[in-house]
Amino acid sequence: MDAFGSLVRKRILTTVIIGFFSLLVIQLFTMQILQTEQYDLKSRDNSIKGYETDAPRGTYFDRNLNVLVSNKPAFTLQITPAYYDTSFNPMIEKILNEQPGYVSRILYLNRYYSKYSPRNIKRDIDFQTIAWIEEHEEYLKGLSYKIQLQRDYSYGVNGSHIFGYIKEVPPDKLNEEKGRYVPGDLIGFSGIEKYYEKYLRGEKGVKYYVVDARQKMVGRYDEGKSDKVPVKGYDLILSIDAETQKIAEKLMEGKRGAVVALDPKTGEVLALVSAPEYNLADFATVTTRDVFNKLTTDPSKPLFNRATASIYSPGSTHKMVGAIAALEEGIIDENSTLFCGGGLNYGGRFFKCLHVDGNIKVERAIEHSCNTFFYRLALSLGVDKWSKYAHKFGFGQKLGLDIGEEMSGICPDRKYYDRVFGKGKWSEGLVINLGIGQGELGVTPLQLAHYVSLIANNGTTGTPHLVKGYIDKKGAFHAFDYKNINLGLREHTFEIVKKAMYLVVNGNGTAGHIRMKNLSIAGKTGTAQNPFGKEHALFVGFAPYEDPKIAVAVIVENAGYGGTHAAPVAKEVMKTYLKVTDDDVSGSTSTIAQVTED
């Protein structure tokens, strides 16, 4: 058996050969028949690369379907090192207005990527540069550009605090919605951009390319048939009136403060301005650190939404709360008089009035802004009743504006005083100051506008909102539902108060200088003491008096009297919205009225 070349040895050789051959056949069968799908997947994964294309964000329209915000193409200059001749560097740097070494630095920073993948050299290149590159394409090998969409704010409405800005996705958001965003994607960061992100973002598209082992693009995959076209986000229809918003923005230029205009019947926001504003275009591509630092460190806090989140003392604009409460509670009627002798003594303290009105009715008290009348009303009401009505009008709570970013403000009640001063350690007399909108009271301009809306519309309105609805892919409009508010108070009460507010402008009141012949404006001025400087000027009002279509609240910080500085802003806003052009001011502009206010 052990001889040279024996049969056994030949069989051993044969067995080894057949054995290994069988092993190879089994392995081939396993790989190519049983597991071929998973290998095929890997092979496709190797050579087919999907490049995401951004979906255009939804467009904003105003209530008359004018475009407010849309998208425009932005050009990003790119260099593909494999084809690029670095001797062009100085020329490119000159064209881009960059320091020498700019291009080589970016190329160096990206040196570890495949030399066939293009590098972003500079974003937001102007069209002339792109045209120049196109013209010299044959000489400038390796130079290319990419078109991305960016927000277009060129429609004349700034709306910084309404629209909000978009920024690159922060890391926490990346994890929150896995797979939806990749680093570098833009996401709504404030305002409507943030709260309607889900509607606005659309669906990204994908373009598939065949790449080789060095990531060099060889061509389109499947002739582009497998590509996914990006789907634009839903367009939003805002309640904003573009012209009114523009005017409000223009009037608040160079000022600090806020303007909020509402449709009293629905709660739709017609205009909302927080001044100073910021330039949304600075956020359109990638916000530079400089721009952002400048905005966040600016002492006038331009990023802060004063209209919804800044808390002011409402001053005399708040007096109607006491009037309505007292009328509703039967403490007074329209003919009741209270005595004003130039002030009120209470608890050893004198609460002063600016004038001596004698016996005065509620209508005259509002028209003339008598403090004593409202001191006495507040005392008669007491903290509980007063705060019950103040809360009814939305003070001390968030109103549920659809972009959030609201503050509740402060509207004191018994619990509040117990908490702050301790139970039994405070005097009922605290309510006296609340009666004239001072003391511990803090309100936002939005709350004031909402409150005026309720008065104007006899105690009913809608939740304030900026977006009416969206337009789907098929072009159909879908309205969002907002809660209606009905205070359930007597119409007669409102008639009395509204009449008084009408007289503020059209009678012998504190805002007589905004009187118009062909538009009946009703309103109330206010001046809020400011411990840090000059008083804030306030005005709340509505128009037309007969059938209110717009309710406005204006606050101008550190301006002085409300009648002088805030009321004219409100008048212009109302005029614009109601399209009243005749601005024939009656001659009764009374300096006395302004001085005697409050």
């Binding site: 290994f20 092993l23 056949v25 790989m31 790449v211």
Partner: protein
């Protein structure tokens, strides 16, 4: 003696046909993998010339007088060693190994040429009836004959070719009639060490097999236990041996054991080769349509990884066809083996069979992920002139023996 003029009797057309088919497969795969390649686009043409040239060599060798084989043993061996020495000093380094000699525009690998020298000289040594295969001295001399070129090749260093030389030498000694027990004593530690590579379970299984074989051979207890202990230590020796290997060789073994662990590093080729073959499916992606091949996911695919071009573009059917063509050659060589009675010629055929089979097994084994990546070309298919020429000469030698087989009786 009657001289048979029937041409079928002079040529083994099974072998010849298979080789032509394999070379054709190889040329197609080279064409496909170098199409539009920036540096290797001329390889198809070069290989075509080599194929024609080496075919002429094959025919020439077939018609050489049979005495020439015995006469050329010593000169071939001496020239082989001389060239292996020269290449160490004057060779060109390609892929980290000093294995190429250049003559003007031509380059060739002396280790390819040395294969012929080795097979002929071992065959010559044991082909002599005076040798006692089980004498330590005769085996020792045979090991020296093959040891010299093996050491020189390891110095290049060319691990793959050295492995082939070792396997060829051992198989020829085996064929020469060494006792199976000796084979077992020599091979079992290697088997255990290799098994231990895959983990403790495999190590224990291999020890059980060794114990079973020891029982089968029924040698005395002390001797059996000694061998068993040697086997156990071989398993533990693996760690030590592993450390002797060069880092790139260690990485290749690690990559083989777990190719996915480092898909962009040393496991890259193994991984991409498997992906290419696996994604080919039953019918393949079609000639020139394999994306792994055309997009060059496997570097230098026309050399050691040529088989995955076929696997990807011609699928399971193409892959099996190549395997069967090789099997035909091996079966025919075994068949010829049983017709040749002269020990010298018989040993030559076994040597050639082993050489071709080792290349085949290691190359395709590494392509399909059964064996770690060892740089060995696939005979008749891989791009490379000296390899093709050497293989054709070997086949020529087999044919020469076949043609003259009746005179040898």
């Amino acid at each position: 003696m009657r001289i048979d003029y029937n041409i079928k009797d002079k040529f083994d057309f099974w072998v010849l046909g298979s080789i032509i088919a394999l070379i054709t497969f190889g040329l197609m795969a080279i064409y496909s993998s170098t199409l539009n390649h920036p540096t290797a686009y001329g390889n198809f043409e070069k290989q075509l010339y080599w194929a024609v040239g080496s075919f002429i060599f094959l025919i020439t060798v077939v018609f050489l007088p049979k005495q020439i084989l015995r006469l050329s043993v010593v000169p071939l061996y001496v020239i082989s060693i001389a060239m292996l020495l020269v290449v160490l000093f004057a060779g060109k380094t390609v892929y980290g190994a000093k294995s190429w000699l250049s003559f003007g525009p031509f380059g060739f690998q002396p280790s390819e040429f040395a294969k012929i020298g080795l097979i002929l000289s071992i065959a010559y040594w044991f082909g002599n009836r005076q040798r006692d295969i089980n004498s330590i001295k005769d085996i020792g001399i045979a090991l020296i004959i093959s040891g010299i070129p093996i050491i020189l090749i390891l110095l290049e260093p060319d691990m793959g070719t050295a492995i082939v030389f070792i396997v060829v030498t051992l198989t020829m000694i085996f064929w020469a009639g060494i006792s199976l027990f000796s084979v077992f004593v020599v091979l079992s530690p290697g088997f255990v060490a290799f098994s231990s590579l895959f983990g403790t379970v495999y190590f224990l299984i291999s020890l059980v097999i060794v114990a079973g074989l020891l029982f089968f051979f029924k040698r005395d207890l002390f001797f059996s236990i000694t061998i068993f202990v040697i086997n156990i230590s071989a398993g533990f020796l693996f760690d030590f041996l592993f450390k002797i290997l060069k880092p790139h060789q260690q990485k290749r073994i690690e990559a083989f054991l777990d190719p996915a662990a480092d898909p962009l590093g040393s496991g890259y080729n193994a991984m991409q080769a498997k992906v290419a073959i696996g994604s080919g499916g039953l019918f393949g992606k079609g000639f020139l349509h394999g994306n792994q091949t055309q997009l060059r996911f496997i570097p230098e695919q026309w050399t050691d990884f040529i088989y995955c071009v076929i696997g990807e573009e011609f699928g399971f059917l193409g892959g099996i066809a190549v395997l069967i063509l090789f099997l035909v050659i091996f079966i025919r060589l075994l068949h010829i083996l049983s017709q040749v009675k002269d020990a010298f010629y018989s040993l030559i055929i076994v040597g050639i069979l082993t050489l071709l089979f080792t290349h085949f097994a290691i190359n395709i084994g590494m392509n399909v992920g059964l064996i770690p990546v060892i740089g060995l070309p696939l005979p008749f298919l891989s791009y490379g002139g000296s390899s093709l020429l050497q293989n054709m000469i070997l086949i020529g030698i087999v044919m020469n023996i076949y043609k003259n087989r009746k005179q040898n009786v």
